[in-house]
C-alpha cells in the first residue's frame, strides 16, 4: 500500500527552478524557438505526435522544449494536455490512396504505376557524420527550385495491394464495425479486435514496437514480410459538421503508411493467397510504420488459421499492454517516489523473520 508523504515544498520549488535554469542552459547560447524545433527537429516532433496520439506540431515542439529533449517526457506532456480537450467529433477514415506523396516506394515491384519516389530519406546515405553541419556558417540556399521547373505533373499512385488484388493474389480487407472501439474512451479489453490493436500499436512506443517486429524477423512468430508499399505524404481530414449537415475538410495531416505482403494462407477449398500487415502512423515515421505492420501481421495469427507458436509478438495481451510508454514509465518511475511506510513494514517483517530464525532452539528448549 502506498502512503503519501508531505513537506519539502521549498526544496521542490528550488529543484524546479534549477530545472528551468538547466533547460535554458548557458545564457550566451541562443535560446531554441518552437519554430526551430518544429522545423529542424521535425522527426522528433513527429514521434511525439504519434505516441502522444495528438496531431499538433507546435504543441509537440513545445513539449520537446519543455522536456529538454526527453521524448517520453514530452509525450507525457502531450497525453496530459490531450485529456483536457473536449472531443469535438471524429473524422471520416482518411483516404491514404489519395495521399499527396512525398515518398512512395515498393520493395516488391520495381516498375509500379506512379513510380518509386524516394523523397527526403536517410536511405542510401553513408551514415558518416557530416562535419559541415558542425561548422556554423551560412547555410545552403533553400530548395533546388530550379531543378523542379518543367517536371511533369505527378502520376496517380494506386496502391500496390490493389493491383495485386486484381488477380486475387492477396487477401481482401474485411469491413469492420461502423464505430470502431476507442481505447481513449473505454478500458482495453481482451481479446482485442484488429481496429483496437491498430489504435494501440499506432500510439505505442517506437522502441517497443520495433523490438517486437524484430523478434518476428528473428523467428519468434515469423511471417515473411515484404514491404509491398511504403508511402509518406499528406492527406485531407474530413468530418461531418453537425450544424451544417454535410462533411467538410478541416485540415491536412502528414502520415506514414506501410503495407506488408506476407506469406500465404490457403486451404483445400481456397487457393493460396498473400496476406497483409498494416501500419499507419502520424508524421514521417517510417521505422515505426514498418514495425507496426509486422506486429499487426503477427497478431493476426488466429484469424489466418496459423499456429500459436507461443511467440511474444503473437500474444496480443502481452504486446498491447506493454506497448504504451506512458503507462510503462508511469508505473516504472513511481517506484522512485517515497515509499517509506511501505518499506518500513517490509523492514519490520524481515527483522521479525530473522529474529524467529535465530531463536528456534532456545524456544524449543522451553
Amino acid at each position: 500500500m502506498y502512503v503519501a508523504v508531505k513537506g519539502g515544498e521549498r526544496a521542490i520549488d528550488n529543484a524546479h527552478d534549477w530545472l528551468a535554469d538547466e533547460r535554458r542552459g548557458p545564457r550566451d547560447i541562443a535560446e531554441l524557438s518552437i519554430a526551430q524545433i518544429r522545423h529542424q527537429l521535425a522527426l522528433a516532433v513527429n514521434r511525439v505526435m504519434a505516441e502522444g496520439s495528438l496531431y499538433d506540431p507546435d504543441l509537440a515542439a513545445l513539449a520537446i522544449k519543455q522536456a529538454r529533449g526527453d521524448l517520453i517526457e514530452a509525450i507525457f506532456l502531450i497525453r496530459a494536455y490531450r485529456t483536457t480537450l473536449p472531443r469535438i467529433g471524429h473524422s471520416h477514415p482518411v483516404d491514404t490512396g489519395a495521399m499527396a506523396c512525398d515518398r512512395r516506394i515498393s520493395a516488391t515491384f520495381k516498375d509500379l504505376p506512379g513510380g518509386q519516389v524516394l523523397g527526403p530519406t536517410f536511405d542510401y546515405t553513408h551514415r558518416l557524420l557530416d562535419f559541415k553541419l558542425l561548422a556554423e556558417g551560412p547555410t545552403a540556399e533553400a530548395g533546388n527550385s530550379g531543378a523542379t521547373q518543367g517536371m511533369p505533373a505527378p502520376a496517380p499512385m494506386p496502391r500496390v495491394s490493389d493491383f495485386l488484388n486484381r488477380d486475387g493474389l492477396i487477401q481482401d480487407e474485411q469491413p469492420g464495425p461502423q464505430t470502431p472501439p476507442d481505447m481513449t474512451r473505454q478500458p482495453m479489453e481482451y481479446p482485442a479486435d484488429r481496429p483496437l490493436r491498430l489504435q494501440a500499436l499506432s500510439r505505442g512506443d517506437e522502441g517497443f514496437v520495433l523490438g517486437m517486429a524484430y523478434s518476428t524477423q528473428r523467428g519468434y512468430g515469423r511471417n515473411h514480410p515484404f514491404v509491398g508499399e511504403l508511402r509518406i505524404g499528406s492527406v485531407a481530414v474530413e468530418m461531418d459538421i453537425p450544424e451544417l449537415g454535410f462533411a467538410v475538410e478541416i485540415g491536412e495531416i502528414t502520415l506514414t503508411e506501410c503495407e506488408t505482403v506476407n506469406q500465404f494462407t490457403g486451404s483445400k477449398t481456397e487457393p493460396a493467397q498473400f496476406t497483409r500487415g498494416y501500419g499507419l502512423v502520424f508524421g514521417q515515421t517510417e521505422r515505426k510504420a514498418i514495425s507496426m505492420a509486422l506486429v499487426d501481421r503477427a497478431l493476426r495469427w488466429e484469424e489466418l488459421g496459423e499456429d500459436n507458436m507461443g511467440a511474444p509478438a503473437q500474444d496480443a495481451e502481452f504486446v498491447l499492454s506493454h506497448a504504451d510508454n506512458i503507462q510503462a514509465t508511469g508505473f516504472l518511475e513511481h517506484i522512485k517516489l517515497p515509499h517509506y511506510v511501505d518499506f518500513q513494514s517490509e523492514l519490520e517483517l524481515v527483522r521479525k523473520l530473522r529474529a524467529e530464525a535465530s531463536t528456534p532452539l532456545s524456544e524449543a528448549a522451553e
Partner: protein, 156 residues
Amino acid sequence: MTNAPTAETAPPNAERQAWMALLAKCPAQHLADLAAPLSATHPHSWLRPPEVGGVMVRGRAGGTGAAFNLGEMTVTRCSLQLGCGTVGHAYVQGRDKTHATHAALIDALMQTAHAATVRATVLAPLQAAAETARAQRASRAATTKVDFFTMVRGED
C-alpha cells in the same frame, strides 16, 4: 441556414465545402492578411466563440478495410453572425482562434452579396497559393523518382 440558392446542378453544398476546406487548410497568416480589411468593415456577433477541441482521426486497416481510431488532432471551431443575420461556421485544424474567426467570417460573407468580391480578394489568392505549394512539393518529390535495375546474376 442562409445558403444562397444556386442554379448549378452540382451536389448541394459542394461550393461551400470547397471554400470551407480551403479556409481550414490555408496558412493562418495568409488568411489574416487577406481578411483583415473585411473583418474591420463587417462586425459580427458570436453564436459560438472560438473553442479548441480534439477530433479523433480515423484510418482503415490496409487503407481500405475496417475503420480504426488513429489518434486525435487539435481543431478550433466557432460560429458567428453578421449584422444581416447570415451565419458563418469554421472548423479549422490547430489552436489558432484568429484563424477560425477569419474562416467563419469569410464563410458568412460568401453567402451574402459580397461573395464575388470575397472570392476574388480572399479565396482566389488562397487557392493559387495552395496550388503553387502543392505543385512545388510534388515536383520536388518527382526529382527523387528512381528507376531500379535488377542486376543479372551471371554464372558463366
